[in-house]
């Protein structure tokens, strides 16, 4: 019989193990989410990430080794982003009718995200280089990283802020919007997409298809607006 150590040596260098565990951890997180009666606090992404992070620590596995397996899941983000065009198209009539509220909510939400993050950061005494990395955090990851680099922030810090913002949005959106008594799925979805990109959009799709479609639009439009406005806010911050 083969020693466990030998099997582990094979598994720990093979992408199969971490790919399987990524799917299993998310599956478990999703099962817990459903068992909780779909409570926003029981976020499947957060559960899977926490579980896998602890497992990497315990087994002394590097992130590079983990990613060799998990990259197959990560890769699907590209085609999934492209796929957002389909619910967008299906909701074309809704979107045409709501063009003006959408544009206003985009500008207001995007500016509110960037300015309030910088404002709170300044008030709490964060360094300028951290503030620069915070500015584009509501945009989808590839845009946020590019913008961060362009305005002199650290892209790896921004990556952390982007994911944290997404999970925060996914958790707080439902209780917050209920508290505000906003019942329009278009308004709810759109605001979440602008503030917390793809992770917020994924959450919106779990709640309501229309909210998901509008969240996808909000995410796409805010990617564009952040790329345009973040350099101006950065200049103002440095000036």
């Amino acid at each position: 019989m083969t020693e466990f150590a030998e099997i582990w040596t094979y598994l720990s260098t093979d992408p199969l193990l971490w790919l399987t565990l990524t799917l299993a951890a998310y599956g478990a997180g999703d099962a817990l989410f459903k068992a909780s009666g779909r409570k926003p606090m029981v976020n499947p992404v957060l559960i899977a990430v926490a579980f896998l992070a602890v497992l990497l620590q315990l087994t002394g596995t590097s992130y590079a080794t983990y990613f060799a397996g998990a990259q197959f899941v990560h890769f699907m983000l590209g085609p999934a982003t492209v796929a957002l065009a389909i619910p967008l198209y299906a909701n074309l009539n809704h979107i045409k009718k709501a063009a003006l509220p959408m544009i206003a909510a985009l500008v207001a939400g995007s500016l509110a995200a960037m300015l309030s993050a910088v404002g709170i950061g300044v008030a709490l005494g964060l360094d300028t280089n951290i503030l620069l990395a915070l500015i584009p955090k509501s945009a989808t990851a590839p845009v946020a990283l590019g913008v961060s680099e362009a305005i002199g922030g650290s892209p790896s810090l921004t990556a952390v802020f982007v994911i944290t913002t997404g999970i925060t949005g996914a958790i707080i959106a439902t209780p917050l919007l209920n508290l505000l008594r906003i019942t329009d799925w278009r308004a709810r979805g759109f605001a979440v997409g602008v503030a917390s990109h793809g992770i917020g959009t994924a959450r919106a799709f779990q709640v309501n298809e229309t909210a998901g479609a509008f969240s996808g639009v909000g995410m796409g439009l805010n990617a564009l607006l952040t790329a345009l406005i973040a350099p101006i806010i950065a200049q103002w911050l440095l000036g």
Binding site: L56, A105, S116, A117, A159, I163, A195, S196, G218
Partner: protein
């Protein structure tokens, strides 16, 4: 299913080429989404054809963020004394952004008399 995935990948590829070729500030997949949307407006049959696959893919969108999320955990201890301030800035600004965005949407909808549906 395979043809559907190939279609999505082809639009992503087209988006990447456009983004790099024209030096646009938008990532390839976002441009690919815009191109696929325009194609569906011109040729509605495409949307109907690939919808079963995109529904499955988007139904599991959260899963796709797990690998990047795990990468984040390795950085969390670096923040030390800034951790609390960063947490307040991120949670606070997300609350503000969702509130402002949703209220603006609803306010403008009422102002312009757009129907609630």
């Amino acid at each position: 299913m395979i043809i559907h995935l190939a279609t999505l990948l082809a639009f992503q590829l087209l988006g990447e080429v456009t983004s790099r070729g024209l030096d646009l500030p938008l990532p390839g997949p976002v441009i690919g989404m815009a191109l696929l949307f325009v194609t569906c407006v011109i040729w509605p049959r495409l949307a109907k054809t690939i919808a079963p696959t995109t529904t499955v893919l988007l139904g599991h969108l959260s899963l796709l963020f797990v690998p990047a999320g795990v990468g984040v955990v390795g950085h969390l201890d670096k923040f030390g004394s800034d951790g609390a301030a960063l947490g307040v800035a991120i949670i606070g600004s997300t609350v503000v952004a969702i509130t402002v965005g949703a209220l603006t949407f609803v306010g403008l909808r009422k102002l312009t008399g757009t129907s609630h549906d």
